[in-house]
């Protein structure tokens, strides 16, 4: 075959299906081409979740409010864990709103292969779309819950109980970091669970346990120094602390720990995506 012929042959094929693909081939171009699917899936999730309920999206508010009330009674009143001068409602609600987002994304992403085996087995589309759609559709929920949180913050601000800081500008970045961590960790776990399902059992209570290793029900200031390092090694800690500090002015903010979280998030997302892409090609045979 002459060189020109070879060249024509090479450019002719739209696609080549091979047993193995390059580890670094992330198919991001394809993901972009399928972006409409992402929006359809987000819309589907939103419509389907509250279809045939009377209260509809109001459930988005009820869930965090009830959890917050429980936390106020159990951790605030009975256990008496200090909140660092921040009104309990704001303190717990801020943590819960963010944590809910993180936990939901992680749990859903981690079982993405199992939950969507029926679709994945029949049609090809870049698998990355599915975890992305989970993160985005939970973003809608987070947005609605943030409205509730902002309303409550507004009330306390009027009362003068909290003092927002300029770090409010960082909130979008915090959300992105959270999305990255949950996506990265979720994809990593989902890839590992296609063959061995053990991790799924670990995950459900692992996420619960992780919540106690994150300053949700306590503030970083109120814990002994020897535990503080452990808590700070959790990349979610800096995110929650920064968020709380931005709205209330109480707590900690440091570029160092936020930078650590960001680096952690980026690394996790990269590894998660690589592993996910490696597994997606033939997961159907083992799931």
């Amino acid at each position: 075959m002459s060189q020109t012929e070879q060249l024509i042959h090479k450019t002719e094929w739209t696609e080549e299906i091979l047993p193995q693909s390059s580890l670094l081939d992330l198919k991001l171009k394809e993901v972009v081409r399928y972006r409409d699917l992402l929006w359809m899936l987000v819309k589907r999730d939103f419509i389907a979740t509250y279809k045939q309920t009377i209260l509809g999206p109001i459930w988005f508010f009820i869930q965090p409010l009830l959890t917050t009330l429980t936390f106020i009674v159990v951790f605030g009143k009975i256990a008496g864990i200090p909140t660092g001068g921040v009104p309990m409602l704001v303190f717990y609600l801020s943590g819960i709103t963010l944590w809910n987002y993180f936990a939901e994304c992680l749990n859903k992403t981690a079982t993405v292969f199992r939950d969507n085996a029926a679709i994945f087995g029949k049609v090809y589309f870049p698998r990355l779309i599915m975890p992305l759609s989970i993160v985005v559709s939970n973003l809608v929920r987070l947005g609605i819950q943030m409205l509730l949180f902002l309303g409550i913050c507004g009330y306390y601000l009027y009362q003068g109980a909290i003092s927002p800081q300029w770090q409010l500008a960082l909130v979008p970045i915090l959300v992105v970091l959270m999305a990255m961590i949950s996506l990265g960790a979720g994809m990593l776990i989902s890839a590992l669970t296609t063959k061995y399902r053990d991790l799924i059992f670990l995950l459900t209570f692992g996420v619960q346990l992780l919540m106690y290793a994150t300053p949700i029900i306590y503030s970083l200031d109120s814990i002994p120094a020897k535990y503080a390092t452990i808590i700070q090694s959790n990349p979610m800690s800096a995110i929650i602390e920064t968020f709380r500090f931005a709205f209330t002015g109480s707590g900690n903010f440091s570029w160092m720990s936020l930078g650590y979280s960001a680096a952690f998030a980026a690394a996790l997302l990269l590894i998660g995506t690589l592993v996910f892409n490696k597994v997606e090609k033939s997961f159907m045979d083992t799931v």
Binding site: D36, R44, G121, Y124, M284
Partner: protein
């Protein structure tokens, strides 16, 4: 002018049998250990051909083995094969839902696969939302769907229900909608897997028409998997037959279909039950009194398994009787290709055999001229001793035979009715013009 649209080279796919998950870890570790030392995958070699009827020694099978194919642009290709021949695996590889074990597929153009209609339909969403969702899953852009929405709704014939959640649809409406979305996808290559088995006759015709339009009118490549020979014959020009994961035939459809139909049956006029090789029969019973040794079928005294309408069939059973039996009864059952029992030929309706001493016997049946439609048939045999309820020996699908058209018969269109098969009766008919 016809350039290749798909080239498949040395394509193989290996599957692991049994329960994935138990013992997988040890195999994985072993694989990893071999890979680490730069050796070949130790389990890649030991796969066996995928014959589901035979017990294998290996946990791994080749669902597809070394397939080489070239499919040209604008060609409509039918893919047939028995259950488990590898058809679905091939389609899965083509549609990228799973990766091949070895080999490669080169594709020119966009592939749309209809392995199952309505993939990703959400029951709570309305018909309209599902059109968009399903279209997006199949790879359509929103603009594209906007443009084709009316056409899709029209094709599916569900305009009135467009804003009703699809969970309220009848199953027929559901399938119509799903097929409509996929059929309007702008792809260069369309892969269809037996979706035509659903929907009413009118809609099936519509689907076939649409697929014909896609392949002939628009010059797109169509791969069509079906067991419906008539649909394949009308739609496709070439045919690929898969058998146990290997390519058995690749050529023109007119040659392929007869090859497949004849290849699918055993043409042996006698079966020795003691030989377990190639066994397609199944044996039940206690065998306390005796057991069948052999069955033979003959036509005019000559061993034969191909009959014409109007031939007589001679069935001869050989039996070894181990114990004395006070009453013995034999029977042969003729079943059609769909497993329906057509004739029951029982010895006791003719005569009774009493006080049989141990020994070897042969039992012969000669039928009257058969009036069966041209098709494949099989014979199951049984033996009952001492008037007990259960058969002492029962062999299902002991032997197969085929019935074909009698040349002298004038009705040429008979083939068309074979699938609605049955038994002829003699009749007269007459056409008169009314005043």
């Amino acid at each position: 002018m016809s350039q290749p649209a798909i080239i498949i080279e040395n394509l193989s796919k290996q599957y692991r049998l049994g329960d994935v998950g138990t013992g997988t870890l040890s195999h994985d570790l072993k694989r990893w250990w071999y890979a680490l030392r730069g050796k070949e995958d130790p389990f890649a070699k030991i796969g066996e051909t995928n014959d589901r009827t035979q017990k294998g020694n290996s946990e791994y099978v080749w669902a597809l083995k070394d397939i080489n194919l070239q499919i040209n642009q604008g060609e409509a290709v039918g893919i047939i094969g028995r259950n488990g021949a590898g058809k679905s695996t091939l389609l899965k590889l083509l549609s990228k839902t799973t990766a091949p074990t070895t080999g490669s597929i080169k594709v020119k153009g966009r592939i749309a696969s209809l392995l199952e209609v309505g993939t990703g339909f959400h029951p709570e969403l309305s018909g309209r939302d599902n059109i968009y969702l399903n279209g997006a899953i199949l790879g359509m852009r929103k603009r594209e769907i906007d443009r084709k929405l009316d056409e899709i709704v029209d094709f599916a014939g569900i305009e009135r229900y467009l804003d009703t959640p699809v969970k309220r649809y009848s199953s027929g409406m559901y399938v119509r909608l799903a097929f409509a979305v996929a059929a309007h996808l702008d792809s260069d290559i369309l892969i269809v897997d037996e979706v035509l088995a659903v929907g009413d006759a009118e809609f099936q015709k519509k689907c076939l028409g649409k697929m014909g339009e896609v392949s002939q009118g628009q010059g797109r490549t169509v791969l069509f998997v079906s067991h419906n020979m008539e649909a394949i014959a009308t739609l496709c020009q070439s045919l690929i037959i898969l058998k146990n994961g290997n390519k058995d035939f690749d050529g023109h459809v007119d040659k392929g279909i007869p090859y497949y139909l004849n290849g699918a049956k055993s043409t042996e006029p006698s079966v020795d039950f003691s030989v377990s090789k190639n066994r397609h029969f199944e044996r039940f019973g206690q065998n306390q009194f005796g057991q069948f040794l052999k069955i033979e079928i003959k036509k005019n005294g000559v061993p034969n398994s191909d009959f014409k309408i109007g031939d007589s069939i001679e069935i001869k059973l050989h039996l070894l009787l181990k114990n004395k039996s006070s009453v013995a009864e034999f029977g042969a059952v003729i079943t059609n290709a769909r497993g329906q029992r057509l004739h029951h030929l029982v010895s006791s309706w003719k005569e009774l055999y009493t006080d049989l001493q141990p020994g070897q016997y042969s039992f012969k049946i000669i039928t009257e001229p058969i009036q069966l439609y041209p098709s494949d048939y099989s014979i199951s045999i049984w033996f009952r001793a001492n008037d007990e309820n259960a058969s002492d020996d029962f062999i299902e699908n002991a032997i197969q035979f085929a019935v074909s058209k009698n040349e002298e018969q004038s009705f040429q269109k008979l083939d068309r009715y074979c699938n609605n098969g049955g038994i002829f009766i003699k009749y007269q008919c007459k056409l008169e013009q009314e005043q």
